[in-house]
Symmetry: C2
Subunit: 283 residues, 2 copies
Amino acid sequence: MLDRLLLGQTEEGELARPPRLVEAMRYAALSGGKRLRPGLMLAAARLFGRDDDGVLVAAAALECIHCYSLVHDDLPAMDDDDLRRGRPTVHRAFDEATAILAGDALLTLAFDLVADPRVHAEACVRLAASRDLARAAGIGGMAGGQMLDLAAEHSTLGETEIRLLQSMKTGALIRYAARTGARLADASVEDIARLTRFGEVIGLAFQLADDLLDVEGDAAALGKAAGKDAAAGKATLVALKGTAWTRAELGRLVAEAETLLAAFGERAASLAALARFVAARDR
Amino acid sequence: MLDRLLLGQTEEGELARPPRLVEAMRYAALSGGKRLRPGLMLAAARLFGRDDDGVLVAAAALECIHCYSLVHDDLPAMDDDDLRRGRPTVHRAFDEATAILAGDALLTLAFDLVADPRVHAEACVRLAASRDLARAAGIGGMAGGQMLDLAAEHSTLGETEIRLLQSMKTGALIRYAARTGARLADASVEDIARLTRFGEVIGLAFQLADDLLDVEGDAAALGKAAGKDAAAGKATLVALKGTAWTRAELGRLVAEAETLLAAFGERAASLAALARFVAARDR
């Protein structure tokens, strides 16, 4: 779907699309990856009986935001990474200016996609999904979290600050995924709140698993260098509290996720599997 | 208004705002400048009888997009500028990583602001303004235009290609300003089309005046270096067709702008003044 959306015909009223920029956007967005965020949104929508192309369009918007953030985070002035998903990063495969613009254009495209009429019949629901996305991705969410992360390389953070940083940098978009899936499927206010919390729990588990992988993981399976966090002096809960505590905390989070899903019975099997995958993943 | 919006209290549901990132965003967005785009939107809305804070919120969103593009365009990997509006550029005053993130966060903030209920009572009108903004700023608009502009430094463009590039890089947002002012004031379909064309004409005039200034302007008044386009080998209509042709074309565009406004009589005086200012500006 993201493939088709990025390949799509130029619609009436739109202007030309520079081929090299399209190519860099496709390279950034269609290079595999776990697709955790769109997968979570689709599973959350299915839980409430919605399973059509419209949710895919919203999921593609979310993936555009995630992929733009990877492109910009990899830049020399940021994390300076050469490798992503086992391939050269965008600024390595193209050049720095193209990487900056491809990130900008993916971020912008997300707000075109989420406004697509297929996403939901009611404009006010699409608008809420759009504004929520801006907040999850912006200064109070992902972009602000990346700023805190860069600053953390030069200071020592406590548990509260690390949790805030992670809830912004990676938590906000994952929370958005689960919450928005429920919203687009017209779930009740209570169920949207339940899925929002489920997304928060998944976000916490994802980050802890990520930090563990950086300590114990295998660079070949990861498709990127391991041990980078410690080398960069990045603050993580693993570094602060150790691997045994982190494994126990992951177990507790999976249990909370399963409790949140209990009310839905068998229908929630794929969301429960996703929670276990996030906690146990090896890449 | 942009000042208050960037200073604003953290709303419920939003996360923390890293102070250094807020500072860089404010530095980028509140450093003066002509405020052409928001001014045009406000004047277009006033023409159809709307003059309240809600239009200001949409105008602030548009200015966020414009200012983010300046921050990213000034980066070392792009135009590599040290000076903007007579002050150090954001990456000079802060650092490159902060400049990239401040641009990203301003771009994202725009889609939060344009969804604000004050912008228009109907969600579908706000959503249309949001999607239009994404298209004006994205791969088929400003970001795509910047990509073409970078590529143009290594090639020779003809008149058609230069016009396409400029309609995307600077034209799309200026067109959006006039069009959206009319839309937010519930103008008729015909009047929205008229203002859309007015915005296109202003965009063309703005770019020609900009190119003339680069050839003939004074760096002190500009607040940035003059003669950069020629030095960088950038394609402009002034370089292709000469200053006499450019001045004549500017006169023709101002005449077309005035013709478009004629139906509105005295009410359109401030829009007509804006058109003349754009064509005759010295900075």
